[in-house]
């Protein structure tokens, strides 16, 4: 029953190992599109533990799921900025904040909020991130200057296309859920 929080914690520890962290942070796109999502996934796994331990807290502060959604979005937007990635590589305190904020302030609230949200909010979240990813893709691809001190321009362009392709996948999903009425098949 409570196996998944253990797996989540193990994943978090594995990602914190210096060789793993160094490898994932050495390439810009794996830093943002692999390490960060994996940290959030570790939080998704660990959420059950907190929900069991502090049921009162979640029902009181995250009654309809929107506060958790908001917290998740703020953390995500913060980590989408080029400057924060740079700081994580330069300042140890920011690096530590990354390893705490993404699992516990983004992953855990997302897991708690998702079942509570109406389909309006779920789609609103995906639409918001689609627009954000398109904008970030545009920024990273067509920025005339190097945005991160730690990464070359070619890596920046690669990351930009990574954002565009992820946004494309989300658009496909949105079109699918708009045109296909699942209730007709059930």
């Amino acid at each position: 029953m409570m196996k998944s929080p253990v797996y989540g914690l193990l994943l978090l520890f594995a990602l914190m190992l210096p060789p793993v962290a160094n490898l994932l942070e050495s390439i810009m796109i794996t830093h943002m599109h692999m390490q960060m999502p994996l940290l959030i996934i570790s939080g998704l796994f660990m959420a059950k533990f907190f929900q069991h331990r502090f049921p009162e807290f979640f029902s009181k502060w995250n009654e309809n799921g929107v506060p958790g959604l908001l917290l998740f979005s703020i953390i995500m937007v913060y980590w989408s900025l080029p400057r924060t990635m740079d700081e994580a590589l330069t300042l140890t305190s920011v690096e530590i904040f990354k390893f705490i904020s993404l699992p516990f302030l983004a992953g855990v609230p997302l897991r708690d909020s998702w079942p509570k949200l109406s389909s309006f909010w779920k789609h609103a979240l995906i639409i918001f991130f689609t627009i954000l990813f398109l904008a970030l893709g545009w920024l990273y691809i067509w920025s005339p200057v190097q945005l991160c001190n730690n990464y070359l321009i070619i890596e920046q362009i690669t990351l930009g296309w990574g954002f565009i392709s992820t946004a494309f996948a989300m658009v496909v999903y949105l079109i699918y859920s708009y045109f296909v009425d699942l209730s007709k098949y059930e």
């Binding site: 390439i27 070619i154 296309w161 392709s165 996948a169 496909v172 699918y176 007709k184």
Partner: protein, 564 residues
């Protein structure tokens, strides 16, 4: 509590009964017969060209001045890799859709016919420059070798024809799902959906490639980015390989258990195998490019994982198949650790051919895994080993399964029956094909390890001792090829006999049932939209880094080359 649904309801029972009494409708039968006829005419022509090529490669046959080795190689590849496989897959799955979904919709049937003629038209366009020796670029038609533009325009029509059939299948499945709310798509149609999803998404990259090649082949643009074109080609080339493989796998899971009088493997696990193969397939293209310059080592290293991941569902399949065989044989009274094999119907070609096909996939799959790894690929990449590998996987695992299918599929669509004589002919054909392919493919593997190059006509390299040492193996290649030609003739005879001359009667479409005590399959397996999104995300993960690198750091580009 609403997460599961029952497997079979009353309507399904009624449809099964209706199908059993009346069989396939005449129009749907005609469609499949046309597709299968083209497939087996392609195998006849492709087989003859293969024999010519094998004899020439062994130094035993001098080609006339108007025909060269690379021309034959291109036609052989196109006929067997594109025509045979596409037409068989579509013909077989359209019969399956018609049978399991209660007939094709008239609109869908029309789409499949439009697709048929588009593919034929495209194929004729592609063949003309090959015959004129203007397109001897081989099946792997990527730059810098350039064929006549007509060849590529033909390919565009083939792709468009395939898309017509893919969308036809989607429309038919969606309409069935609307008419049968809460039910799972029948397993064979589930496989068909997976295959057509792969056919559509796998042919997108090659469509992009061909559209960039056409202006280059016409001379409207001077150069082309070779690495991008090769990458787009292999995203399609590898997927195509796995489309036939998934077609064969569908028969192993669904048809073969019924033929041996058993029940099929767990429904949920079967569907997971299909979903996993669909999601992970396209990115496998990279292991065809392991020795390509321009891809950095870390990216190649990452792709070893992506390619080996595709092996996982195949291992699940291997386990499932032998478990089904053992379970069925034991129910029939089979005893002992392996003694139960005696209870399997070895004299029935509908079982024997797919069984040998499966068994062949053990060495074929192992060879594939060896080639996927970086260092081993360096050793064999441009040698005959690779040719041996794909003759073992396609010529044996896939094509022998196809052969095994026709002994009931063609009688089913032609409303005839399989006669004992044709069954016997089939068993003999299966044995000849097996021996021929073991000799030919074995010789190719071995001579490849000794260094004999692929995609090269016969040469002794000025009587170099190493090159001369390949000759005995090349003789074996020619002997195997000759046996295979005999096999082709027997097979084509069986196909057209069963289609037009066999005694009239009713043949069953064999679809195995699941075990009675099996837990119901969860509903999430039906969410194809989600699987497609997962596939797109995975393709993004695989292709964004190298493609951006190829384009941003692009070399000057290549003009068209005509090397023949």
């Amino acid at each position: 509590m609403e997460t599961v649904i029952k497997q079979s309801g009353k309507t399904q029972v009624f449809k099964d009964k209706a199908n059993k009494v009346m069989g396939i409708s005449l129009e749907d039968g005609k469609l499949t017969k046309s597709y299968l006829s083209v497939a087996f005419l392609a195998i006849l022509l492709g087989g003859i060209l293969g024999l010519v090529q094998g004899l020439n490669r062994a130094g035993m046959l001098e080609l006339p001045a108007w025909l060269n080795y690379y021309q034959v190689l291109t036609a052989h590849g196109l006929l067997l890799v594109v025509v045979l496989s596409a037409f068989f897959t579509i013909g077989y799955f359209y019969a399956g859709l018609s049978h399991t979904l209660g007939g094709l919709l008239p609109k869908v049937r029309k789409m499949a016919w439009i697709g048929f003629w588009m593919k034929i038209f495209g194929f004729v366009l592609a063949v003309i420059p090959i015959l004129m020796n203007e397109a001897s670029v081989m099946y792997t038609f990527y730059p810098p070798m350039a064929a006549s533009p007509i060849f590529y325009i033909g390919l565009v029509f083939i792709v468009l024809g395939v898309w017509m059939c893919a969308f036809g299948a989607f429309i038919n499945v969606a309409s069935w799902r609307k008419r049968n709310p809460g039910k799972h798509v029948p397993i064979l149609s589930f496989f068909a959906t997976g295959v057509f999803v792969l056919l559509f998404f796998g042919s997108l990259p090659v469509a992009i490639e061909v559209f960039t090649i056409i202006p280059w082949a016409f001379g409207w643009v001077e150069t082309i980015n070779v690495m991008v074109a090769r990458t787009l080609f292999w995203a399609f080339g590898h997927t195509l390989v796995n489309i036939w493989y998934l077609t064969a796998v569908s028969a192993w899971y669904v048809i073969v258990p019924k033929v041996i009088g058993g029940r099929r493997w767990n429904d949920l696990l079967t569907r997971i195998v299909v979903i996993a193969l669909v999601i992970m397939n396209i990115t496998g293209g990279f292991h065809h490019q392991i020795i390509d310059p321009g891809i950095s080592e870390p990216v190649k290293y990452m792709h070893v994982f992506m390619s080996l991941a595709i092996g996982f569902p195949s291992l699940m399949t291997a386990y499932a198949m032998f478990a089904v065989f053992e379970r069925t044989a034991r129910r029939k009274g089979g005893k002992g650790l392996v003694g139960w094999y005696k209870k399997l119907p070895w004299g029935d070609v509908r079982f024997l051919a797919p069984f040998i096909a499966m068994a062949a996939f053990i060495p074929a799959g192992a060879g594939g895994i060896a080639q996927t790894t970086n260092q081993l690929n360096q050793v064999v990449h441009n040698t005959m080993w690779v040719v041996g590998h794909f003759h073992l996987t396609l010529g044996m695992s896939v094509v022998m399964t196809f052969f095994g299918l026709i002994y009931w599929l063609i009688p089913y669509v032609s409303k005839r029956v399989l006669t004992p004589q044709i069954n016997k002919l089939g068993v003999i054909q299966t044995i000849i094909w097996t021996i021929g392919m073991i000799i030919m493919s074995g010789a190719m593997h071995w001579v490849g390890l000794l260094g004999s190059p692929r995609r090269t006509s016969y040469s002794t390299y000025f009587d170099n001792a190493t090159a001369l040492s390949w000759d005995p193996y090349l003789f074996f290649l020619a002997i195997g090829g000759t046996l295979l030609m005999i096999g082709v003739l027997m097979q084509v005879y069986a196909v057209f006999y069963l289609m037009f001359f066999a005694p009239k009667g009713n043949t069953e479409f064999p679809i195995a049932e699941v075990e009675e005590d099996e837990a119901p399959t969860p509903r999430w397996t039906e969410r194809w939209g989600l699987w497609v999104v997962c596939m797109i995300v995975l393709v993004g993960m695989a292709y964004v880094i190298p493609l951006v690198d190829f384009m941003v750091n692009a070399p000057p580009g290549s003009p068209p080359f005509k090397t023949w």
